[in-house]
């Protein structure tokens, strides 16, 4: 990844915007599974502006990939003031554009954000491209176990 994008991603991660659950949201979208922590959820609040319904504010929560968090941070800023249709028309790469052009292998991370937004705005069920257990699933899945100490 080039240094400029890496610097922008790190800057977004050090001061992520619009993080956290939003009470009173008009729409909520999720991609991934909360159970394994590998998910991104987005809350959206609308307002009326000039006779149009536009996005007033969006927030997100994610325990997934760092790049996805950086993209969600800039994307939630970018979609303010857009109509749902305008926001839905944006690709993952467009949502990530304030960070610069993501390298091809990181485009998935932006697509995760796009998926959560589509789920929130369009009610569209987004099927994550992965159904095989990810590394994160395998070591960070909360489980309840009983243990027996050996004498």
């Amino acid at each position: 990844m080039n240094d400029d994008i890496e610097t922008k991603i790190q800057a977004a991660l050090h001061d992520p915007q619009n993080v956290g659950e939003m009470s009173g949201a008009d729409a909520i979208g999720t991609v991934g599974s909360e159970n394994c922590g590998d998910m991104l959820r987005m809350w959206v609040k609308f307002k009326e502006e000039g006779g149009r319904k536009v996005i007033d504010r969006a927030t997100f929560q994610s325990f997934g990939c760092q790049t996805a968090i950086a993209v969600a941070s800039v994307a939630t800023e970018l979609i303010r003031g857009k109509t749902p249709a305008e926001a839905l028309a944006m690709s993952g790469e467009e949502l990530a554009s304030p960070l610069g052009k993501l390298p091809p292998m990181k485009i998935h991370c932006a697509q995760l954000v796009e998926g959560a937004l589509r789920n929130a705005l369009g009610g569209e069920e987004t099927v994550a491209p992965a159904s095989a257990p990810s590394l994160l699933d395998q070591f960070a899945s909360p489980k309840t176990v009983r243990i027996k100490l050996q004498p």
């Binding site: 997934g64 996805a68 491209p129 960070a140 909360p142 176990v145 243990i147 100490l149």
Partner: protein, 179 residues
Amino acid sequence: MMMTSAVDMTMDELLEACPGAQRALFRNYHIGGCASCGFRPDETLAEVCARNDGLDPAEVLETIRRASAEDERMMISPPQVKRLLESDSVELLDIRTREEYEAVRIEGAQFLDHSLMQQILTNKPKESFLVFVDHKGARSLDAAAYFSGHGFTNIKCLRGGIDAWSVQVDATLPRYTVE
């Protein structure tokens, strides 16, 4: 697996033949770490390569071949970790369940929940020396690969997990089984 046709194996078959393949894929190509960069079990390696910027399947296979050596390089023995802890130059991150952590833990080890994980991924210098601890040393390799894939350069796994620590370093720490 190491024949040319290995690129036509499904990911399920590939992971069965080479359990370290997913770790190698994430460490080197940011594939398979979380939902956004994952793959389907029925995709072939060739298909995964094609939709990841047209990676060269032969090169990817070569990386997978080296996976077990990379895994081995990630390991650190309990006595070595003990010495590092004494010089305060390492952080232990415990990836077991909360129940296991509360029952038996190495002094100073931190329980790695989602919040701590995000804090580390976001704020820790990438050269921080981190050692992952699990029960018997198998799952911590996945955690190590995940952090490596996020740019951390000084990551190790406690060989044999806390169970080996009980045997090799601190016999007062009870061994246990999971039911």
